[in-house]
Structure formats: structure tokens, C-alpha cells
């Protein structure tokens, strides 16, 4: 059945290019967009249900908070998307984020100016990403294990640098968290703007540059990508550097969000990022997925949290159960939507 469909498709439409831009003779939906579409549908459904059930739910303030409160997770998820698209995984992002907050907090306390501390924190993330990339590509250690080790390493460094939580009072960081009111309850912070900028840069990189094409190609099949002459080695290392840098940047946004450097931050955040990426339609085997999907995934997770807070009656354990159940419903719905297409 699949072969029939394929020959029919080949006759009717030209082959879609490797970039995200697809040219067609007739407006039909590319099946690769289907998982993301599923995400959008469920997101809208949740908004409807929330809006009808709770007062003030669909207000500008709540929706703006959704973006503001999750800007750091958006950046981290974008970085994670790059890694997962190549078929890898990065478990260290939570710990690297914490390390970034600890490094910047430590440097501020010791009198370093913002224009040194901020790049230093991001650089730390990039360095760890580079080390992971080397471990994965040169030493052929599996990404799961390499990034697990990086997670222990980053977390260990956090405990050494900041055994107690360090408050951040640096004006630059504080400014990153200021709320700009846009009227009607809507607002945005510089962190939110940075997060959106990162998404745009990532989108352009993945869909309109050779690097992005190589990322997708590696996910589709590393051997074939190499045979095609694509710079596989460099790209594989670079995606981990990107993920580490995004985690470092996310750490700065988180420092602005929480104005402190704390070694226990970000525990389990990597699972949130992975969940967001998968909910957004990216396959963990690599080669297929969209950055915008990951952003939607983060919004879905944030929405789940908002609904639970608005509900106001869930005890700790019911919170966990409801999160798990919503995740389940989501994943099944998405799977059914994709499967029906075939």
C-alpha cells in the first residue's frame, strides 16, 4: 500500500526538497507537518477547555505569562531540537543551565562586570557542548551516556561553585526580567524577546542554510550523508555545541527569571525539554521535525501547568497524575493523527 501511494504521489507532485520549503502543484498538507498540526489542535483544545472552565484564563496576562515564564525552556528546547534532529539526545541541558546561573552569579559577587560574566556563562555551556560533541563523534560514545556524564560534571561544578544559592543583583540581569506592558494585560520581557529571536535564528538556520540541511541529513542517515560529501563530523560536534550554548543562554534567562544562582535548579529539565521537542512533532530517531513544533511543545507544557494552578485543588500526587495523563492523551492523539494519514 505504501508503494502505491508513493508512485501516485511521484506522478502528481514534484519531490519535496530537503529544506522545509515545499513546492506543490496543489495545496495539500505535507505529511511531515502532521504531528505539528496535531500539537496545534490539542493546544487550541486545551485553551478552549481552560477558557470555559476558569475565569481570567484567556486573558492577555495569563497568555503573556505563558511566554514569559517559559522563555528559558523555549531556548533550551530549541537547542535540544538540533541534537535530536541528528538522532542524538542531550541529557545535560538542565545541569548546564544551572551551571550557567551559578557561574554568572559567582562572577557578579566577585565583582566581574556583566559584559564578562554573561559571555563567560554562555561560553561554559558551549565548552561542555563541545566536549560532549567530541566524546560522541571522535570517541564514538553514545550520546545518552556522554551527555549523562556531562550532566554529572556540570552538576558537580555547580555544587563546587555555589554550595549555597547566590542572589543576583546585577542591573543587566535585572533588566532582562523587566516587564514591558503592551496593553490589555499583554506584556513581554527582554528575555521573551531573546527567546523569540533564538527561535527565528534557529528556524532560518535549519531551513535555509547548508548546515541545517546537513543536520536533517545526518538524522536521516549518517552514512548516506557522509557519502553525499556533507561535513558530517563538524556538524555532529556543532549540534552539541549549539545545545550547550542554548542551555547556557537559557541559564542567563533563568537567572533573570529567578535572580539567583542555585545549584539545584534544572533538575529534570532535560526531560521537560525532550518532552517538548517530541510533543512538537520531532522524532527521536532523527531526521524529521521542526523548531516551531518544539516551541509549541513548550507552550503545551506551560499550559498544562497553568491549568493545574488555576484548578487550585490538586494535591501533589494528583498534580503528577494529571500531568502524566495529559501527556498520555497528547501523545496518543498525536500518534493517531499521524497513523491515520498512512
Amino acid at each position: 500500500m505504501a508503494t502505491d501511494e508513493m508512485t501516485v504521489k511521484a506522478r502528481k507532485q514534484p519531490e519535496p526538497k530537503l529544506t522545509g520549503a515545499v513546492h506543490r502543484s496543489r495545496p495539500t498538507l505535507d505529511r511531515r507537518y502532521l504531528p505539528v498540526l496535531g500539537t496545534v489542535v490539542v493546544l487550541v483544545l486545551m485553551l478552549i477547555i481552560g477558557g470555559s472552565r476558569y475565569d481570567n484564563f484567556l486573558s492577555g496576562r495569563v497568555m503573556a505569562n505563558l511566554l514569559i515564564n517559559n522563555s528559558f525552556l523555549i531556548v533550551v528546547a530549541v537547542g535540544m531540537t538540533f541534537v535530536i534532529l541528528t538522532g542524538g539526545i542531550d541529557l545535560s541541558v538542565g545541569a548546564v543551565l544551572a551551571l550557567s546561573t551559578c557561574i554568572s552569579a559567582w562572577m557578579f559577587v566577585h565583582g566581574w562586570p556583566a559584559y564578562v560574566a554573561i559571555p563567560a556563562a554562555i561560553l561554559a555551556g558551549a565548552l561542555i557542548g563541545w566536549a560532549v560533541g567530541v566524546m560522541v563523534h571522535v570517541f564514538e560514545i553514545q550520546p545518552f551516556i556522554a551527555t549523562l556524564a556531562a550532566m554529572f560534571l556540570a552538576r558537580g561544578l555547580c555544587y563546587v561553585i555555589a554550595p549555597e544559592s547566590i542572589p543576583i543583583t546585577d542591573p543587566t540581569i535585572v533588566k532582562l526580567g523587566t516587564r514591558w506592558d503592551l496593553g490589555g494585560g499583554w506584556a513581554i520581557t527582554p528575555s521573551g524577546v531573546i527567546a523569540l529571536a533564538v527561535v527565528v535564528v534557529a528556524f532560518v538556520t535549519l531551513h535555509y542554510t547548508r548546515f541545517g540541511r546537513t543536520v536533517y541529513a545526518i538524522g536521516g542517515g549518517e552514512q548516506s550523508a557522509r557519502l553525499m560529501g556533507l561535513p558530517v563530523a563538524r556538524t555532529k560536534v556543532l549540534v552539541y555545541v549549539i545545545s550547550g550554548t542554548c542551555a547556557g543562554l537559557g541559564g542567563l534567562l533563568f537567572a533573570a527569571f529567578s535572580s539567583s544562582g542555585y545549584s539545584l535548579t534544572g533538575v529534570g529539565m532535560e526531560l521537560d525539554a525532550i518532552a517538548a521537542v517530541v510533543i512538537g512533532g520531532t522524532l527521536l530517531t532523527g531526521g524529521s521535525g521542526f523548531v516551531l513544533g518544539s516551541v509549541l511543545g513548550v507552550l503545551v507544557l506551560g499550559l498544562i501547568q497553568t491549568i493545574i494552578t488555576f484548578e487550585g485543588t490538586l494535591s501533589s500526587w494528583w498534580t503528577k497524575i494529571v500531568i502524566g495523563a495529559l501527556l498520555l492523551v497528547f501523545v496518543i492523539l498525536q500518534r493517531l493523527l499521524v497513523v491515520r494519514r498512512r
Partner: protein, 337 residues
């Protein structure tokens, strides 16, 4: 092929309809989204005081008792509309919850901060919205104390000091080796209780802390670390555990090594949960300093006072008792948690 096209168009149309419906809803609700107003539907049927509470998590029996106390006291019958959220021990969840409470327009916000630092921004927002903030159990580290009305909770450093003082007075008359089971690395109670104990015992030359590791506040952690301590150090006299659970784990490890807890190796802990008090009454633990989790009644009283226009002290220290073995036997039947 036709069905494909229709399916696509149907999906697109569906989304458009939903989106339209969304904007209609949001524009309708925007008017009521004024954070300054204290009215939120259903809750303030005139009398009920709406309170938003963000709890750290449910990481221990102590925390569960704390939650239960608050939920059992701030009920609808008592005149409260309690919105409760569990932060799963993540600071970002607490910040989101507080922002959400501000958006929902609650009248009071109370929370136990999972970490001491980083609350200035969100507390400023609460202040701007005229919502009084009450801190329970743990404090925040901020220069601007006007950001919260009061902090009610135990003094962790004081708890550590009291334990240290008792050890110094009762056991420190001869040279003793002490091993320490710490709480979760980086958490305020662990840091403070360690500090307090060290402050109280540093002047007593007989007391030597020979090993100190983290048991993560859990029973299993305490047992694991104690086993290691027993292997590495043949002469342990006293175990100082930052909470009862780790002490209970240590009891198991000591018994497995063929020694008698409370007799061969003395144990001192903090918290005073029921299992700990039982062990104390049985003679397996030697001294417990209480850390009272039942903050519900005090919280309700504070809110009611503020609501009636009164003022409260900026720092309310909960009364913590302390028990040795005899006192535990007497107090055990009345223990609520």
C-alpha cells in the same frame, strides 16, 4: 485524493473557527482580567477569603503533614477559598504559580520558597497588585523586607544549635566521635542545621565530627551512608542526622552491624515526626528537636488578622519543643503527625 483535500480543508476550517472563538472569549474576559480587583468569580461570594498557596512539593512526610495542616485549616467552612499548587520542588513552578495567582486576583498569597534567593521580581509584582505575601517554613533572602508581610516558620540554625547544645552538655563530657548525616546538598535546612550544630559544638574540644555526608533527607539515603560510615570508621559514638527519616535509616544500618542504636551509638535528630518519636520512646534515638509542620492554624490566624485590618509581627518563630526519651514516652499519644 479528494478525501485528502477535504480533510485538509476541514482541519483548516476547524482551526479558523476555534481561533475566532478564542478571540471572542479573550476579548470578553479581558475586561475582567484587571489584577488590581480583588473579585474572582465563585470564590468571593462576599465572605470567602481567597488565598493562593504554593507548596514546595511532597518530598517528605513532614511536608505532607504541613500540606495537610494547611488544607485542613483553610477550608470553605472556615471562610477561605484556598488555591493550592505543588511546585514539584522547582523554583520556576513556584514563580509561575505566584504569577498565576496574581492574574487570578487572589487576596492573599502564601508560600514556602524552595530556595532562598530570586524572588524579588515576582514579589514586586504581587506588591504592585496589592496582594499581601506571607512566607511559611522557609525565608527569602531579599534586601527589601516590605515585599512580604511576615515570615512564620522554624529557625533551622536554632534547631541545629539546640541539638549541638544537648550533645555538648550530655555526651560531650568525654571525647566522642560524631558522624553527620546531612540533608539535600544546597538546601536551606541542611545548610542551616549543619551551621547551628557546628556553632554550638565548636568550643567543646571533646566533640569531633569525623565524617559528614548527604543522605538526601531520605530513610534509604541515611541507611546507605550509615553503612558506609560503619565500614570506614570503627569508633562512632554519635550520629547527628538532619532529619528523623535519615536517623531511622541509620538505626537499620546500626542494627544490621550488630550494634545497638541509642546505646552503643547514640542518635540525635531534628523534626519530630511520629516514626521518629516512636523510635525515641523505644530508646533507639536519644534526642529529637521538633520542627513543627502544623502551620495551618497560625496561617489562618495571620490572614484573618490582616483581613480585619490588623498588623502582624514580621517574624513569627514557631514554637519547637525538644524531647528526650522520657518526654517522648509521655508525648507520643498526642502526636498528630
Amino acid at each position: 485524493m479528494v478525501s485528502k483535500k477535504i480533510r485538509t480543508q476541514a482541519v483548516a476550517a476547524g482551526i479558523a473557527v476555534l481561533a475566532l472563538g478564542l478571540t471572542a472569549c479573550s476579548s470578553g474576559d479581558d475586561k475582567t482580567a484587571d489584577p488590581g480587583s480583588t473579585s474572582s468569580e465563585g470564590s468571593s461570594g462576599g465572605d470567602a477569603i481567597s488565598v493562593g498557596f504554593s507548596q514546595v512539593g511532597a518530598e517528605s512526610g513532614w511536608r505532607a503533614a504541613n500540606t495537610k495542616s494547611i488544607q485542613d485549616t483553610l477550608t470553605k467552612d472556615a471562610g477561605f477559598d484556598l488555591k493550592f499548587s505543588d511546585a514539584q520542588q522547582k523554583q520556576e513552578n513556584q514563580i509561575q504559580a505566584i504569577r498565576s495567582y496574581i492574574a487570578q486576583g487572589v487576596q492573599y498569597i502564601a508560600f514556602s520558597p524552595v530556595v532562598e534567593t530570586g524572588w524579588d521580581a515576582v514579589l514586586q509584582e504581587a506588591k504592585a497588585a496589592n496582594i499581601p505575601v506571607i512566607l511559611t517554613d522557609r525565608a527569602v533572602d531579599t534586601a527589601d523586607t516590605s515585599l512580604y508581610v511576615t515570615f512564620i516558620g522554624s529557625d533551622f540554625v536554632e534547631e541545629g544549635k539546640r541539638v549541638g547544645q544537648w550533645v555538648s552538655d550530655n555526651l560531650g563530657t568525654e571525647p566522642i566521635n560524631v558522624v553527620e548525616l546531612q540533608g539535600t546538598t544546597g538546601s536551606a535546612p541542611a545548610i542551616d542545621r549543619k551551621q547551628g550544630f557546628e556553632d554550638a559544638t565548636k568550643d567543646n574540644a571533646n566533640i569531633k565530627i569525623i565524617a559528614s555526608q548527604t543522605g538526601d533527607f531520605t530513610r534509604d539515603g541515611g541507611k546507605k551512608v550509615m553503612e558506609g560510615f560503619l565500614q570506614a570508621n570503627p569508633d562512632i559514638d554519635v550520629v547527628y542526622a538532619h532529619n528523623d527519616d535519615m536517623g531511622l535509616g541509620a538505626i537499620e544500618a546500626i542494627e544490621a552491624a550488630g550494634k545497638k542504636p541509642g546505646v552503643d551509638i547514640k542518635i540525635v535528630t531534628i523534626d519530630g515526626v511520629k516514626d521518629g518519636m516512636t523510635a525515641l520512646a523505644d530508646g533507639k534515638i536519644n534526642y529529637i528537636v521538633e520542627c513543627n509542620p502544623l502551620l495551618g492554624p497560625d496561617l489562618a490566624k495571620i490572614i484573618k488578622t490582616l483581613h480585619d485590618g490588623g498588623t502582624v509581627e514580621p517574624r513569627i518563630v514557631t514554637q519547637d519543643g525538644a524531647f528526650d526519651q522520657e518526654q517522648a514516652k509521655a508525648a507520643l499519644p498526642d502526636r498528630q503527625y
